[in-house]
């Protein structure tokens, strides 16, 4: 029964998704109330997740469901982040659909399905579970990306995402097969046990398998050689989905990535050297792409690549003994808050059919809507890592970890990339503050997103000041 | 491998491959006779060889000859000739192959070695059937598509949609069956059905799965594209469906493929639900141990049966109107002579068996033959059901067809699984 308590939030979200889906089919649920219901479900699941007591900082071997799932503070907080992301994404969606008319209750249902996949993913301690949750999440997200069928841009985005996602899925499957072949089990605990007695490098099957699995993960988080899709897909996806993808998916994948990479010291030792380069190239590639962008969503996507780079630094630096993942989770929380913040703001500023989407469209926002501009500035600063925001603390922890793991160079390169990223974050601030307004940024309809924006703006500081996760 | 092994392999394969083929003739004949019977028509009554019509069987030969000597047209507008030719071949091959795992007698033990009486002695069982039948859809779609004809495409699509729609209830009906049998191996299923329920009812699938058998049979009808589910060819709407552009032997392959499929699915229904080759209340061991009384009884029963058959034939095999020197009466007399000589021949063999039989080998072969006969008889009856239904029920409309599949059979099948598994778990 204890096992079920661990997945209680998952059950809440999943049941909510199914219930919503059924209600949607009955056609007696209005658009607005669906959003509220889904927000409520996410909030409830969040509360449940908060109350679920998980014992301390747990090594990834403490397992539930006879080794299928793992539960630790790390997974718990990752779950919290995901649920919060879902909540705010629903807020975004609610506002977004006052200006874009293609929604239906299933949208929220799919959102919850994706969230349940993500929750499961954070806890996955076994290749089968991992694969299934990965696909639950991905499939729901694919549909969400292409939800607006009337616009070809969306369809192309979903095609691209689906193609590459399935490709990554194939990599993962093959990797899982090879790991299974090498270690004789799909359970992390048993694989780890196997590796404790057998040398990792002596088993070519295992090496190849872990390589493929890692490649799949890198695909999903848009790390260096596999980063090209992310800009297009984020651009093509509807705003709430982009927000959810950028934050929730990243959180989930990094959670499981961390759980996976700490399986064994020898294995980590082999891959860390390569992850080093991946991290560096990811950061710089992301920066180069971001600097060239004129479209805000594309810029955010590219900056997402950069943040993946930082998170990989954190991965490089995690210790297999006494793994807590605090640094990763903190950075993810900070990143999620800031990114979702920008997206909530965009939800009501974007206008019909996401009309305003480039830097130039936000000229003089500060004069017309000072609070929103201030909030966006806060988010930008957080992403850039300027104190006293959460983004800074996240970066600080990552650098601390990296240096502690004798990766001084990586830390410095991370900082250099941070300096580069300043360029495009400040560009928006400059547009908003230092240019004259050309339009009045009128927003129609009652919407939740401004509230969400403000909450997130506050939470950017709150996360920074009260690092309860660590 | 000993010579016996090779011999048995060849025999089994011959059975597996040619019984379905020869059943095509039987079925076509039966279809015609059935149509005549059910709809009060004459049936095939003209074709004859030297006045012998063999109850209409000669019509089949005429058909075959006609098809073989017809012009084989590949219309000019067809772009992919390979696919066009491949399609009927595929339909036929899958139909034949799907019979490979169906057992037609209990495991034959000769010289201490077990011979599984299937064409291919593997234990894939029902999975093989599902896989191969699923593959058959490709043939139909390919035919429709490569015909490059609106009717063809539509027919192919309909056929595909129908087949895949009914594959689900079929599969789910099987699931509940599998919970009972705990195996996918058809031989084991057949053996299971040799038991007795409460000591007096044969433990056939039909008694254990009354709901499942209905679902399965309905689905099997749809799978074989038989009326009332023959929308793929629905000649009133889409002329002939997927095979509208086919002629000659290519058409014949579709035709034969359909009948082979019908035979195989009948065989499968029998295997799954009607006790397979099991002769009710007589298990294989019982028969083997008491082979001599059994043979004796058979020897008694055969002339009796031949006698009554002859009376029936004499009554029916004559012209409908008064005719001097009715050639049909002469025909019937010849048939009676043939039947009696066959009976005598078999009686002699049985006598020989009674006198010279020493080991269990002969008894086992005899039992196997009996079981094969039983199996074929059951299958024959099942095929008759097919024909019965065909000439009784009108064709469904397409929406009715889909509604039946998805809204009735599928939930029913799920319910069936639920009930069955609940019972199985509570009994275990």
């Amino acid at each position: 029964m204890l096992d079920f308590i661990i997945i209680l939030p998952l059950l809440v979200v999943g049941a909510g998704a199914i219930a919503l889906m059924l209600l949607a089919s009955m056609e007696n649920l209005s658009e607005g109330s669906t959003a509220l219901v889904s927000i409520g479900i996410f909030a409830f699941a969040f509360a449940v997740q908060l109350m679920v007591s998980v014992s301390g900082n747990v090594a990834p071997y403490e397992t539930a469901f006879s080794g299928m799932l793992t539960a630790s503070t790390f997974t718990k907080v990752a779950g919290l982040i995901i649920l919060a992301c879902g909540l705010f994404s629903c807020m975004i969606a609610q506002t977004y659909f006052t200006q874009n008319k293609f929604s239906s209750p299933e949208f929220y249902s799919l959102m919850m399905f994706a969230a349940s996949g993500m929750l499961l993913l954070t806890m996955a301690a076994e290749l089968i579970t991992l694969f299934i949750s990965l696909e639950i999440m991905s499939l729901a997200i694919y549909v969400l990306v292409g939800y607006d069928r009337s616009r070809i841009k969306r369809s192309e985005a979903v095609l691209k995402y689906l193609m590459l996602g399935a490709f990554a899925g194939a990599f993962f499957t093959m990797g899982a097969a090879l790991i299974y072949g090498g270690a004789g089990s799909t359970r992390f605990a048993l694989i780890s046990k196997y590796l404790a007695t057998n040398s990792f490098l002596e088993s070519p099957v295992l090496v190849a398998g872990t390589l493929l699995v890692i490649v799949a993960f890198l695909f999903k988080v848009a790390a260096f050689p596999f980063h090209a899709w992310v800009v297009d897909v984020y651009d093509g996806a509807p705003l709430p989905v982009t927000g959810f993808m950028a934050t929730g998916v990243k959180t989930a994948i990094f959670a499981v990535f961390a759980n996976f990479i700490v399986l064994d010291n020898g294995m980590k030792g082999v891959w860390v050297d390569y992850l080093f380069y991946v991290a560096v190239f990811t950061m710089f590639a992301g920066n180069l792409i971001a600097i060239g962008q004129n479209n805000l969503k594309r810029m955010l996507a590219a900056s997402g690549i950069v943040h993946s780079g930082y998170l990989i630094i954190a991965l490089v630096a995690v210790g297999t003994e006494n793994f807590t993942g605090g640094v990763i989770i903190f950075y993810l929380a900070a990143y999620a808050a800031a990114t979702l913040g920008v997206f909530t703001a965009l939800a009501y500023l974007g206008g019909t059919d996401e009309r305003r989407d480039s830097f130039d469209d936000f000229k003089g926002l500060a004069k017309v809507r000072p609070y929103t501009a201030a909030a966006i500035t806060i988010f930008m600063l957080s992403m850039a890592g300027i104190p006293p925001t959460a983004g800074f603390m996240g970066k600080f922890y990552i650098i601390t970890d990296a240096i502690r793991a004798d990766q001084m160079l990586l830390a410095v390169l991370g900082i250099v990339s941070s300096i580069l990223s300043m360029w495009y974050y400040l560009r928006l601030v400059i547009m908003m503050y230092f240019k004259e307004p050309e339009e009045s940024f009128e927003v129609s309809g009652v919407s939740l997103a401004p509230v969400g924006t403000m909450i997130l703006a506050v939470s950017v500081f709150a996360i920074g000041f009260y690092p309860v996760f660590l | 491998m000993s010579a016996l092994d090779i011999l048995l392999v060849i025999l089994r394969i011959a059975f597996g491959a040619f019984v379905p083929l020869s059943f095509v003739a039987v079925l076509v004949w039966m279809e015609r006779r059935g149509a005549g019977y059910f709809q009060d028509r004459s049936g095939p009554n003209r074709c004859n060889v030297l006045g012998f019509r063999a109850g209409g069987l000669i019509q089949n030969i005429a058909d075959a000859v006609k098809l073989i000597f017809k012009e084989d047209i590949v219309p000019g507008h067809i772009k992919h000739k390979l696919y066009f030719i491949l399609a009927p071949t595929l339909v036929f091959i899958t139909a034949i192959l799907s019979f490979a795992m169906v057992p037609f007698a209990d495991t034959l033990v000769l010289n201490g070695k077990e011979y599984i009486m299937q064409a291919i002695p593997a234990d894939l069982g029902i999975l093989w059937f599902l896989a191969v039948v699923g593959f058959g859809v490709y043939g139909i779609i390919l035919a429709g598509w490569s015909s490059h004809n609106k009717y063809g495409v539509l027919g192919g699509l309909r056929a595909a949609a129908q087949v895949i729609s009914y594959e689900i209830p079929m599969g789910l009906a099987l699931v509940s069956l599998l919970t009972i049998y705990s195996t996918v191996n058809l031989s084991e299923m057949a053996r299971f059905q040799g038991q007795l329920l409460f000591g007096f009812i044969p433990m056939w699938g039909v008694f254990l799965q009354p709901l499942g058998v209905i679902i399965f049979i309905v689905a099997a009808f749809a799978e074989t594209n038989r009326t009332p589910f023959d929308l793929a060819e629905g000649e009133s709407e889409i002329v002939a469906g997927f095979h509208v552009e086919y002629s000659s032997m290519k058409f014949a392959l579709f035709f034969m493929g359909e009948y082979v499929a019908m035979f195989v699915s009948s065989a499968l229904i029998v295997t799954l639900y009607f006790g397979s080759y099991q002769i009710p209340w007589f298990s294989t061991e019982t028969l083997v141990n008491h082979s001599k009384p059994v043979v004796f009884l058979l020897m008694l029963a055969m002339p009796v049966a031949a006698y009554f058959f002859n009376i029936w034939m004499k009554k029916n095999n004559r012209s409908q109107y008064e005719r001097p020197n009715d050639p049909r009466v002469f025909e019937a007399q010849v048939y009676a002579a043939v039947i009696w000589s066959i009976v005598i021949f078999i009686e002699i063999i049985f006598l020989g068996f009674l006198i010279f039989s020493s080991g269990a080998g002969g008894a086992r072969i005899l039992v196997a033959l009996l079981q094969i006969a039983c199996f074929l008889f059951k299958t024959f009856l099942m095929c008759f059901v097919y024909i019965w239904v065909r000439w009784t029920l009108p064709r469904f409309r397409y929406d009715q067809l889909q509604r039946l599949g998805w809204q009735r059979l599928l939930p029913l099948a799920l319910l069936n699984i639920f009930i069955t598994s609940a019972v199985v778990v509570s009994l275990a």
């Binding site: 499939l139 093959m174 899982a176 799909t186 297009d232 | -």
Partner: protein, 98 residues
Amino acid sequence: MIANYLSLSVILFCFGLLGVISRRNVFTVFMSIELMLNAANLAFVALSRLHENMDGHVLALMVMAVAAAEAALALAVVILLHKHKGNLDTNVFSLLRG
């Protein structure tokens, strides 16, 4: 014996990989991905036999399910795109350029 299975699996996987990379038609790409998944399935089942436990079988089943779901989605997307473009060459889809 297991080496043969594995080699076949890896070869199939590589074929799939090549297909994804080199082919233009969307369907071919998705079929190549399916091929990759099936290569993995082969490896799973073979290795399951090797290790004498069922994990591999289970994963293979799951992979099938997921492949089906993905194929379903892919079909939907392809129809959608075909509606928009009337063509299935990946080069045609160029509204978004990274």
